[in-house]
Amino acid sequence: MNRSDDDRLGGWYRALLLAYPAAYRGERGEEIVGTLLDGARPGQRWPSPREACGLVVGGLRSRVGAATHRPARDIWADGVQLAALVVLAVAVCRATWWFFWARESHDLVNAVTASWPPGWWRPPAVAGIAATVAAIVAIARGWAVAAVVLIPTGYLAKLLASVFLSGVQLSNGSLWSYHIGQSEQWLYVVAALAAVFMPGSGYGASPKPSRALGVGGGGTRRQA
């Protein structure tokens, strides 16, 4: 195997190593690539599917912490952080879809929109979605305090937009229960709880951080 094949195959393996945490890659990445190149067939230019799967699974396991001896609390904290990210991403998608696509086609809401100044819902809707996106960034960066502030802000702004959209009908019950059932508010509750328990929040050292995930599991299941 010549050097250019080495470079090409090594490049593929380096890309697959992105499945591993950056710190691990920095420490062991080149050694793993070296081992993979040692095991390559002469002239091999593409990663073997077996090795590719091995790297992706190994990388994910080391991210979760299953492959290393980390305290269970840290593993839970990472899992909770990941759960919050997923939950907020789903909330952003749902809210964007609801306000900017589905709203148009929904008779229940269109019937009462006229009773409120048209367009008032737009600023709080945009602000709510923006705050939720900011919360995702905050959680990814580990800024727990910012996340704990941004998540309810996003939710309340979005709720305000819903009120502007559906107007007085909120008081008659049916539309309200429709919102309870359909909105992604459970997602926000789950994410806020997760943010409280994530590393860096100061509560990560709580003796039972898994409780946050337990509540989260219930919330998302109800959502589905």
């Binding site: 050694e31 090795e51 001896h69």
Partner: protein, 127 residues
């Protein structure tokens, strides 16, 4: 650690019995020792090596660059040697349960089974 060691882990430790090896050396030796049954991917190998290092069963020896490739070799520690021997003895014990002489004779039940077969057939065939 005895009785809970996974097969790849066992063969990684066994591969290091004779001499320190680098990553690919371990993959090849483990495959050899297991008659081709243990084929480690780099992902599995390094996950196991990390686990074994932090458990103190294996330690890194020296690092070098060969043909532009980074290599680090691994050595079995005394604790690692003890662990793999303990596991080997446990497996030998466990194997005896099945392979000992009294199990070599066919039991009355398995001897009876072939005889039962034609009977079933004659019942089924006409239908």
């Amino acid at each position: 650690m005895s009785s809970s060691m996974r097969t790849p882990t066992y063969f990684i430790l066994a591969a290091l019995l004779d001499e320190p090896l680098h990553g690919y050396g371990i993959v090849k030796r483990a495959e050899e020792l297991s008659s081709g049954r243990v084929r480690l991917t780099a992902g599995t190998l390094y996950a196991a090596l990390d686990r074994l290092s932090s458990a103190g069963l294996v330690r890194t020896d020296r690092e070098e660059i060969v043909n532009g490739r980074a290599r680090r070799s691994y050595v079995l520690t005394d604790a690692g040697l003890e662990a793999v021997r303990e596991e080997a003895e446990w497996m030998a014990e466990a194997a005896k349960v099945v392979t000992s002489d009294r199990r070599q004779q066919p039991s009355p039940r398995s001897a009876a089974r072939p005889a039962a077969r034609p009977v079933t057939r004659t019942v089924v065939m006409p239908a």
